[in-house]
């Protein structure tokens, strides 16, 4: 594997995302390892919080703009901005330009930011041409394509190309991979019944494979899927669901950082 000299690679601002910051820092550290191994210089601006998507999708344009301005201020000077989430990267890339469509001062700034913002796996493949991951994992895995990454950013092949470099990992596609799991931000709480029905269908589809580990690029969806798996196991339902089906963010596997317990599980 090639190790780039620390000062030669592009300067990348890591947009940690609020969910990773609050719920699962290990994803952030995995992302940093992957980016550094690819030769990038990483910085993590402290003034970041959230991309503003909850406000934007709930019609609160003012708060969405205020939050987005913070992101633009914090990140516009990097060569690239990378987020371990298709949803948050999609917000910056696709929706900031719409949000500021009638703001002459912000328009060039958000276009500039949008153009250099990437979801983690697509950045590693499309920009850094990552070809020599050293991670190993002797497991059957499956992959959930999160909606924003898939449909707003076209992230589909990239995580699979990276997983193909992980020694021992055997990818089995599941039929519901492209179907929304029902997370949808505030949707999962506001329309809990529908959301539950959707995630149940995702989980049923997952049960049709032999996979032992579900991977994905967006923590929200993964928490939703794991939360349902775990509740069904508590209730002793769905006997065809192997109690061994674990859930992780793809970055953890790609970085070989799987010493932390999987999502929703305790140590030991």
């Amino acid at each position: 594997m090639t190790v780039a000299s620390p000062n030669s690679g592009p300067k990348v601002g890591l947009f940690v995302t609020c969910l990773v910051d609050l719920m699962r820092p290990s994803i952030g550290f995995a992302a940093i390892k992957l980016l550094e191994d690819a030769g990038c210089q990483i910085e993590v601006p402290e003034s970041q919080t959230c991309c503003g998507q909850p406000a934007y999708n709930s019609g609160d344009r003012q708060n969405a703009k205020d939050i987005a301005r913070l992101v633009v201020d914090a990140f516009e000077d990097y060569d690239y901005v990378v987020a371990p989430s298709g949803s948050c990267a999609g917000m910056i890339k696709e929706h900031y330009p719409k949000l500021f469509a009638d703001d002459l001062e912000m328009t060039p700034r958000v276009y500039n930011l949008a153009q250099k913002t990437h979801e983690l796996t697509s950045f590693l493949i499309d920009v850094m041409n990552t070809q020599d991951l050293t991670a190993k994992l002797e497991q059957k895995i499956t992959y959930h394509d999160s909606c924003a990454g898939l449909r707003e950013l076209g992230v589909k092949a990239q995580p699979r190309q990276l997983l193909a470099q992980v020694e021992g990992a055997e990818l089995q596609e599941y039929e519901g991979a492209e179907t929304c799991c029902g997370f949808g931000g505030t949707f999962c709480v506001k329309y809990s019944d529908i959301s539950d029905h959707m995630v149940k269908q995702s989980v049923e589809s997952l049960a049709e494979t032999d996979a032992e580990l579900v991977l994905g690029g967006d923590l929200g969806c993964l928490m939703n899927i794991q939360g349902k798996l775990s509740r069904l196991q508590d209730e002793g339902k769905e006997t065809n669901l192997k109690a061994t089906l674990k859930v992780r963010h793809v970055a953890e596997v790609l970085a070989g950082m799987i010493d932390t317990p999987p999502i929703g599980e305790a140590d030991g």
Binding site: V16, D21, L22, M23, R24, P25, S26, G28, F29, V44, E46, S47, T49, G52, P54, A55, N57, S58, G59, D60, R61, N63, D66, I67, C147, L150, R151, E152, T179, C180, G184, T186, F187, C188, V189, K190, Y191, S192, D193, I194, S195, D196, H197, M198, V199, Q201, M223, Q226, G227, K228, S230, R231, D234, T260, P261, I263, G264, E265, A266, D267
Partner: protein
């Protein structure tokens, strides 16, 4: 009369989710229509380019809508037909009743028409002493059951064959009790025989229109059963119901739209019957209606055109967005509470009924984008849903819990120092609280989540805390 229940969305959803027959039917849509559309779209190499063309044709038409409608009207009249304009449902109903009364009509056969549903024409004709008979098999079944359609192209997709048999036994007076109605083909034979008489004896036939062609003054219907053709050929009067956005410039433009319509709807290469009708029976013709009328309805569409929702007027009612929507696939059509369900309904209904009447619809979506991915005229449905959400927020039509939760979130999200100050300890506490299992079964502020799912616990310290420690 089927009352609108758009304001009772949440209780409609609860009923739908436990309706076993409905859930079975919805599973069938996923494997049927969705699978077939995929095959049809993949085996026509130009399909994606044709979608672009279809989008462009509709956009062009809408940008020149007044001009094409005027040309259309001239050409209908030149071929001996009549055009009637209706600002709203009341005007449309009165026009239709007046035409029926002018020929002393007793019975009216009907092809499937979403405009007919929108203006609730059957109820109105019944109240005025006429007998309206739906002839599309699905529409006929739900008419017997006193229901609204649950899908714009498969209106009775929620009904089981046993329920169809019950409906026939209850309403078909001459049906011998010993006749078996167990199998779909027996039901089909019964419906065919029953409706034959109705077709032949009807005084007026009412159909919808998939397209109105400006160039020729024609109306176009697309069906698989042939009921629309019998409806508009056998009675003395044919009335076509359409709304203003159905007009298309030319035969060529219509052809492009037809190339994407059936493939998107059912995955057929072309529906069985595509019929272009121009004016009444000609002098030497042996059959066909003596009178040909077209009713063109506005009913709120000019407001959509003037506002932020003109892209919705591209819709050609194929139903692909319903079939592919995971929310529709969970709750079915009736839960949406009015005529138009699924993503297209969630955008259209607030526009036609008023947002106050339907505020839940644009909110009940994960914005997953599947609808836009399959829409044959590439309507940006998620963006349009967001536009309604902007108005829900501004007009304060959403629920207060979410609104306040988001307001608090924004208070912190806009102040990074405050955010980090509070986030660290709170996550550490939650992580410690859940340390044994790694997840929580109940969180008061996230009841909607923990009611049916466990909540994976945070790892403990936040990323920013750990990053700071690491940098020291």
């Amino acid at each position: 009369m089927v009352e609108a229940t758009t304001t009772q969305f949440k209780s409609n959803v609860k009923k739908a989710l436990v309706d076993k027959q409905l859930q079975k039917a919805l599973a069938g849509i996923k494997t049927g229509f969705v699978h077939n559309r995929k095959i049809a779209s993949e085996r026509l190499e130009e399909f994606e380019d044709l979608r672009d063309r279809a989008r462009d044709i509709k956009t062009h038409t809408i940008q020149h809508l007044d001009a094409y409608l005027e040309i259309y009207q001239q050409n209908v009249e030149a071929s001996g037909g009549h055009v009637h304009w209706a600002r709203d449902e009341t005007e449309a109903r009165e026009i239709i009743l007046a035409i029926c009364q002018s020929v002393d009509a007793k019975t009216v056969t009907k092809g499937k028409s979403m405009i007919g549903e929108e203006i609730a024409i059957n109820d109105y004709l019944e109240e005025n002493g006429l007998e309206p008979i739906e002839t599309d098999l699905g529409e006929y079944i739900i008419q017997l059951r006193g229901e609204a359609p649950s899908h714009i192209i498969a209106p009775a997709s929620h009904v089981s064959k046993e329920q169809v048999a019950d409906a026939f036994r209850e309403t078909h007076k001459n049906l011998p009790a010993e006749r078996s109605l167990e199998e779909p083909d027996e039901l089909l034979a019964e419906a065919r025989a029953m409706l034959r008489d109705k077709f032949i004896n009807a005084d007026v036939g009412i159909t919808g229109a998939n397209f109105l062609i400006a160039e020729t003054g024609s109306s176009v219907i697309v069906t698989n059963e042939g009921n629309g053709d019998l409806t508009q050929t056998l009675p003395g009067v044919h009335i076509a119901l359409a709304s203003i956005e159905k007009v298309v410039p030319t035969l060529e433009d219509t052809t492009t739209l037809l190339r994407v319509l059936a493939r998107s709807a059912t995955g057929q290469e072309m529906s069985s019957y595509t019929t272009f009708s121009t004016g009444p029976r000609r002098a030497a013709d042996l059959d066909g209606p003596a009178e040909y009328h077209v009713v063109i309805l506005d009913n709120g569409r000019t407001d959509l055109l003037a506002g932020d929702f003109s892209e919705m007027l591209r819709c050609i009612r194929c139903g692909a967005c319903l079939n592919h929507c995971p929310v529709y696939n969970s709750i079915g059509g009736h839960a949406y509470g009015w005529v138009y369900p699924g993503p297209m309904g969630a955008v259209l209904t607030p526009g036609l009924m008023g947002l106050d009447e339907a505020a839940d619809l644009p909110q009940a979506s994960t914005l997953c984008g599947k609808c836009e991915e399959v829409c044959p005229v590439r309507i940006p449905l998620p963006s349009l849903l967001r536009r309604w959400r902007d108005q829900v927020y501004v007009r304060d039509l959403g629920d207060w819990q979410t609104k306040w939760a988001l307001k608090w979130w924004a208070v912190f999200a806009k102040r990074p120092a405050l955010y980090h100050f509070f986030a660290g300890p709170k996550m550490q506490f939650l992580g410690w609280w859940a340390r044994k299992k790694g997840h929580l079964k109940y969180i008061p502020s996230l009841k909607g989540w923990t009611r049916n799912r466990n909540f994976p616990a945070p790892q403990g310290k936040t990323f920013q805390q750990l990053w700071k420690e690491k940098r020291k």
